[in-house]
């Protein structure tokens, strides 16, 4: 029996960890978008939601550290799998094409590392903008004070650079997820052809829905100037 360290560094272990971290990050995306959609709720909903998160205190740090670990581990594995190709095939083909059929080679699967890296760079800017961005304090109906993140979100997304920059990067999720969702289950040794087909359909559905929900927020705020009927004051 190999040691745990040896096992997670084996070619099987690396793939399983890519799958597990990928699934973890997808679950995070679901949680993140559900929270974000509170911006369309009652005027205070979004600030109550963000305050609730901040009030978690030490627990929030644990969650953040866990997330950072997942992002980091996922990135290291993804980049190293991609990088190792050069070693495994130092001289490439003059001509190369997929044979189609059961192959999953597609724009999505071939661009995983590029979409991933763009998402990572975006993440840094994103955290800088919102987590560490300047906000006013507002008084909630409950009498407590909270950061007015809602105002910051609306301010940023009325700026075309932010609105369209976010829309562009978040659109890439459709590529990363339409292959990633299927690939993660395959890494975790999904075997049957029927399941594989269903999971690939599920992957398309998941990728489209997640992407649309994410890009809806910046686009809606930009085109309504933050005063549309869905944003109540």
């Amino acid at each position: 029996m190999p040691s745990f360290i040896k096992a997670i560094n084996s070619q099987v272990g690396r793939k399983i960890m890519t799958g597990i971290t990928g699934i973890g990050l997808m679950l995070f995306l679901i949680g993140h978008i559900v929270g974000n959609l509170t911006i369309f709720g009652a005027p205070e909903a979004f600030n109550i939601y963000t305050k609730t998160l901040e009030d978690l205190g030490p627990l929030l740090y644990v969650i953040e550290a866990g997330l950072a670990f997942f992002f980091l581990y996922h990135t290291i594995l993804g980049v190293s799998i991609w990088w190792n190709r050069r070693k495994a095939r130092p001289e490439g083909y003059k001509k190369y094409q997929t044979k189609g059929g059961p192959s999953h080679q597609s724009l999505a699967s071939k661009s995983m590392v590029y979409t991933g890296i763009i998402i990572l760079v975006f993440l840094v800017i994103h955290i800088w903008t919102f987590k560490f961005g300047d906000t006013e304090m507002v008084k909630l109906a409950s009498g407590e004070m909270a950061r007015d993140l809602r105002a910051l979100v609306i301010e940023k997304f009325t700026d075309p650079l932010y609105a369209f920059g976010y829309t562009f990067v978040l659109s890439l999720l459709i590529l990363h997820l339409s292959h990633g969702f299927w690939s993660a289950f395959t890494s975790l040794s999904m075997k049957s052809k029927e399941a594989s087909k269903k999971v690939q359909m599920g992957a398309y559905g998941f990728a489209i829905v997640i992407m649309l929900m994410f890009i809806f927020i910046p686009l809606y705020i930009y085109f309504t100037g933050g005063e549309g009927s869905l944003i109540s004051y």
Partner: protein, 250 residues
């Protein structure tokens, strides 16, 4: 009567393992649609020799799709354009007059080129050596029915056993991973009661040897399944992953 076709060939020439190679071109005017791809290369070599040129080396043995010796990458596809057909069984009727065909050897650090289109695939042998066998007592054969094998399992094992070790899966994989080959060998042996005993050690040893030989990681591109002349599914890779995980908890 079929008319002769003109085919423009471009093929890899490399005089030895550690020297740089290059492409050479030749136009054949007498290609018949009934020829196999390798017969077309025979004609090429005949013409080259008549002109006093060196022939192109390529690997083959059975020419009937069962030995796994042939392994050309034709126009960027391992074994050429047809699904589940080894290039020795590929016929020139799949091409038309005036076609350009580029022929390259399988490219992978673990498959060093010996000459031209011939590569050294002993990395596969070494993966087999570390676990791709069952240990049985020699001597007089055991009664054949002493070890019952479930029908479903033996059918499944048979599908994986169809692997001919050609290396097309490695050739076509963007990462040059050997997962389909190794998975097929593991899945084949692990389905039988005779193979069950060494199951865990076998999975760990063979998976580790892939890395040792310099094959790349699997990215689930599934291109291997598309090019495999025996149609072996990536379910073999799932079997390999399951066996490896089981080995951890055993």
């Amino acid at each position: 009567m079929s008319k002769d076709m003109t085919i423009h060939l471009k093929y890899w020439k490399q005089s030895g393992p550690d020297v740089p190679g290059h492409f050479e071109e030749y136009t054949l005017d007498t290609v018949n649609e009934h020829m196999s791809f390798l017969e077309m290369l025979d004609v090429l070599n005949e013409e080259l020799q008549l002109k006093g040129k060196e022939p192109v080396e390529f690997d083959y043995d059975c020419r009937e799709g069962i030995c796994g010796s042939c392994n050309l990458v034709i126009n960027g596809q391992a074994h050429g354009p047809k699904a589940e057909v080894a290039c020795c069984q590929l016929h020139m009727r799949n091409y038309k007059d005036g076609d350009k065909i580029t022929i390259e050897p399988p490219r992978a650090a673990a498959f060093p080129i010996i000459k031209d289109l011939v590569v050294d695939r002993s990395a596969f042998d070494r993966i087999i050596e570390v676990g791709g066998y069952v240990s049985v007592k020699t001597g007089s054969a055991q009664e054949a029915n002493a070890l019952p094998v479930e029908k479903e399992k033996s059918d499944e094992a048979f599908e994986y056993a169809a692997c001919i070790g050609c290396g097309a899966c490695v050739a076509a994989c963007p990462n040059a991973s050997a997962s389909l080959f190794t998975g097929a060998k593991l899945a084949h042996l692990n389905k039988f009661p005779q193979g069950e005993v060494e199951r865990s050690n076998r999975a760990v040893a063979m998976v580790d040897q892939m890395k040792e030989e310099g094959f790349g990681d699997c990215s689930n591109f599934a291109e291997c399944e598309a090019v495999c002349p025996k149609g072996i599914s990536i379910s073999a890779i799932a079997e390999m992953r399951r066996d490896y995980i089981k080995a951890l908890v055993n």
